[in-house]
């Protein structure tokens, strides 16, 4: 019965954002400065506990945190009626991705959202979304997953529609809400099916209980569609460009991170539940097809966009395809000798790409938001010559853009190289399509860079964006540079434990 902050870190990762979500409106009654300070303190404390949890996972292994139990690290999972959080390499990787993006988006919000009333509600929604995605990736219980899924959906809808004087934002939020509610209810149906059949909701117990009957297949198929939809995979991507393009610029990366969170959850469910009930090849091929579609359709749709945020939104859809394809290849080879020869590498590449994608996409979205903030224009045909007045934003955009295009030696290249190498061995055509999509991505980044930043100064802006926005983008830039400089270290220290956390041993 003693307090153990390290063992309790998963609870704090969830509890701190929840606590500060409700403290900020109270602080607002005292003063606006206190409210803003609370926001930063909440974000930093969350980051601290994510760091503590990750460090503990990497140094002394994973553990299960059981809410309300007598011991903070129960040796046996007899108390499976309680809610459990899995603190393992996979949730560490996911929560690190979330918290880096949240820090960037949060600091960026200060200057970007200035002039909007009711900012305490913005902070509440921001913290609730953060708590929701953290709960989603940490939980080891299907019903608890549904709860966090709904918390994330509702809070992020509020964020999308926060500037409710913009009709398009409200429309995008409505679309997002429909998709989320539909997905959530279908997910609930599938939870009901599994609970009715086996009487357990815990991932580990369910994995032991699954027999592969008809009901399992129906339930797990619904789950795969729901989370692929929330991850904005083609053909369920129609909401993503609207939501990304019309949400306030500072929260766009945060909305994108809820999609990435759904992809993390999909990966965990596939690897903990599906492998015991479905033939692995069927699910693997489905994911590969979804991945190829997302890559190809996403990039084709991006070609004809002229709005900078909408274009990046479609690029983001196509990036989701890389991860789906890599996970699909890893899963399809799971039961064969191919897994150790290249399947494990595909999984490492996919997970490494997720953490990279979370960070550089946030950088890209924030620099695009800076362009819109400084000029008031999002149309690439009307922009031009911004590099003269906005040198830092230009640099940040270039770094994020080259990283998303997979240009060596940036972080996007390291993870894409792992994916190319491994999926080539599964089938060469996969690697060829992935390469072609990367080249088109590079061309599109060139298009944005050329039309928005290069050329003669057209006097569209008075100068650089406020310093706090530059600091926020700077933090993300530092992370991208670190990941680019030490990809081996990141793979060995963060990605490999995540693969182990999925319960796959090569």
């Amino acid at each position: 019965m003693s307090m153990d902050l390290v063992s309790a870190s998963p609870a704090f990762v969830l509890g701190i954002p929840l606590l500060f979500a409700f403290l900020t409106p109270l602080a607002n009654r005292v003063s606006k400065d206190l409210r803003d300070a609370m926001f930063v303190i909440g974000l930093l404390l969350t980051a601290l506990f994510v760091g503590i949890m990750a460090y503990e996972v990497y140094t002394s292994g994973s553990w299960i945190y059981v809410f309300g139990s007598e011991e903070s690290r129960p040796t046996q999972t007899a108390s499976y009626f309680r809610i459990m959080f899995a603190a393992d390499g996979f949730s560490a990787l996911a929560s690190i991705t979330m918290v880096i993006t949240a820090l960037g988006a949060g600091l960026y919000s200060f200057a970007y959202m200035e002039g909007n009333t009711g900012m305490e509600k913005f902070y509440t929604l921001f913290f609730l979304t953060l708590a929701g995605v953290m709960g989603m990736v940490l939980t080891a219980d299907l019903f608890n997953l549904f709860v966090w899924f709904e918390v994330t959906s509702i809070a992020s809808c509020g964020l999308v529609a926060f500037q409710n004087y913009k009709v398009k934002s409200v429309e995008a939020a409505l679309k997002y809400m429909f998709i989320s509610v539909l997905g959530g209810l279908f997910f609930l149906v599938s939870i009901g099916l599994l609970y009715g059949e086996y009487g357990v909701l815990n991932f580990f117990l369910l994995a032991d209980a699954l027999t592969g009957g008809m009901i399992d297949k129906v339930a797990l198929s619904i789950i795969i569609v729901v989370f692929a939809m929330k991850a904005s995979s083609v053909p369920m991507h129609m909401w993503a460009p609207d939501v990304y393009a019309e949400s306030p610029g500072s929260v766009t990366p945060f909305i994108a991170i809820t999609s990435l969170g759904s992809l993390f959850v999909l990966t965990r469910i596939i690897f903990t539940l599906f492998r015991y009930s479905f033939g692995v090849a069927a699910v693997g091929h489905l994911l590969i097809i979804l991945g190829l579609l997302s890559m190809f359709v996403g990039i084709s749709m991006a070609l004809k966009q002229s709005d900078v945020k909408r274009l990046i939104a479609y690029l983001s859809v196509s990036q989701i395809g890389y991860m789906l394809m890599a996970i699909g290849v890893a899963f399809a080879t799971l039961d064969s000798a191919d897994y150790s020869s290249f399947g494990a590498m595909a999984l490492e590449g996919g997970l490494f790409h997720m953490i990279n994608d979370g960070v550089y996409k946030a950088l890209l979205f924030l620099s695009a938001a800076s362009v819109v903030y400084a000029t008031g224009i999002g149309d690439l045909n009307k922009l031009g010559g911004l590099a003269h007045k906005m040198p830092y934003t230009t640099m940040f955009f270039l770094l994020g853009g080259l990283s998303i295009a997979g240009v060596p030696p940036l972080s996007g290249f390291s993870s894409k190289l792992l994916i190319y190498q491994s999926v080539y061995l599964y089938h060469p055509i996969l690697a060829i399509i992935a390469l072609v999509v990367s080249i088109i991505t590079f061309a599109l980044i060139g298009k944005i860079f050329y039309s928005a930043f290069l050329g003669p100064d057209q006097g569209l802006t008075r100068g650089e964006v406020p310093r706090s926005m530059l600091v926020a983008m700077g933090i993300l830039t530092v992370v991208v540079i670190l990941f680019s400089l030490f990809p081996n270290y990141v793979v060995a220290e963060i990605v490999v434990p995540a693969v182990e956390g999925l319960g796959v041993v090569a």
Partner: protein
Amino acid sequence: MNWEMSKIVRTVTDIMVVPIIVYGIYLIVHGHLTPGGGFQGGAVIASSTALLIIAYGSFRDHKADLSSIESIGLTLFIILALLGLFLGATMFHNYSAGTGGLFGGTVPQGINPGYINTGGTVPLMNIMVGLEVAAALSLILLMMGKASDSVEVEA
């Protein structure tokens, strides 16, 4: 809105609001013993707000206060959950059950009529949820009353 209902309605409302609130509080504090709990009791309390709005028509703007009550309820709920961590073992751990303090009584074995001074943190959390729900639903009702405020009444 500057109309109000007849004196009979207003008088009955004045009388009825008290038992409604008392019943709501009863549901909240007996949440760990009988059907009901924080959400249900809070909803009952909020129904007294609905009654007052209908009977009197006009009301002062209490939105900021209600919003604060809501935040206080939720903050205390999370603090209770975290206290489980600091005083007990894990988050949401019921550290005060059976320790003899407030709501800390032990339940005797066998059939009994239900002892209210038991349950540890569960009744406390019910109270916090009750605060939150009562304030939030009242807030929604006030917002709706305000929305109809802007519509011109046809002569």
